[in-house]
Subunit: 206 residues, 2 copies
């Protein structure tokens, strides 16, 4: 981003405003899909939430399905950032896995509506968009599996366990948080992040 | 059930036929909701699957939402049977928990479409029906938590772990199977049931 675009003048400024508005549309759509479910929600609902006419939303999105895809795609990009940070961490694989799960769950719980939409509405995508999202989901599973296999090779995780089943078990446990977590309830995000990471390690430690 | 009703004659016979037809309607609805999703499915789709006119379905169900509720309610009744069998088993709590998870997952994987509908479509219920299903879901969590607490009291499970978080972790892992399992794929139902039960025990054992 250049200084010109940040100052808000010229075409760069238009582009920043456009990005901000697109961001606003996506955040509104997350709220709407979370409340009504994707199937029952309409572009009109999203327009009402943003406070603009429905027609002007089509400057930012081409269809309701594209809007859902953009939400999932942006969420994936955020998840990838957490994975990339985790790749820079040094230390034994189990320690890296523990830290990754903690970081991931902190992000997840700060963005619980986004994450709930990700997990419960993604199945409404079709064709190329569905294929893309399924491929993206595998990146997360593959990263955790890599760490599990590394831990097994280092003798820190039980080698009698099937690494794929172990990965699926742990990832389902972690990603299931959106089904029960209530913001402001009994457990703080920090506590869930820490205890869940510790439970995952118990499951696979040798 | 009396001998008369089983022979198919008289009012008893009508009632058996009615029950059989209702069973057939529910099984067809599971297929339809599983394939299209509840929101996009119609009573017409279910009638087409059963091979009857839409009007005649209303002898067995009052609405699409009632149909979804009946599927979830019957599924819950089947789950309760597994819990009741588990309550009759004697032995240390961890052994009973292991056996319960195995039995539950064997039923779950034999009925994967029903279970997928249970977990992914239940949120479309409203009002009293939603309240009932949420109350039913807690029975499963409460049963697992009871065993976890018993295991902690017996010194077999780590008492430093929060029994509720532990229960949610294990139950999310187990109930997440419907998101990745493919019938006829790499893992047999028996293998998933056994390995998952063993993984759950690893997570909580002291």
């Amino acid at each position: 981003m250049t200084a010109v675009s940040e100052s808000g003048s010229g075409n760069g400024g238009q582009s920043v405003r456009r990005r901000n508005r697109k961001h606003e549309v996506l955040e509104a759509a997350i709220e709407v899909f979370w409340e009504k479910g994707y199937a029952d929600a309409s572009i009109q609902d999203v327009a009402d939430r943003v406070g603009v006419l429905k027609g002007s939303l089509y400057h930012y999105i081409s269809s309701k399905e594209q809007l859902l895809f953009d939400i999932l795609d942006h969420s994936h990009a955020q998840g990838i950032e957490i994975i990339q940070r985790a790749r820079l961490v040094e230390g034994p694989p189990l320690e890296r896995l523990q830290r990754f799960i903690e970081d991931y769950l902190r992000w997840y719980l700060r963005n619980i509506k986004r994450v709930s939409v990700y997990f419960s509405e993604g199945r409404y995508l079709t064709g190329e968009r569905l294929t893309t999202v399924r491929r993206q989901q595998r990146v997360y599973d593959e990263f955790v599996k890599e760490l599990v296999v590394e831990a097994q090779e280092a003798g820190d995780a039980d080698t009698s366990l099937d690494p794929r089943l172990l990965t699926l078990f742990v990832n389902s446990a972690v990603n299931g948080v959106s089904t029960w977590y209530r913001t402001g309830g009994r457990y703080s995000p920090d506590r869930v992040a820490k205890e869940y990471a510790a439970l995952a390690l118990r499951t696979l430690r040798s």
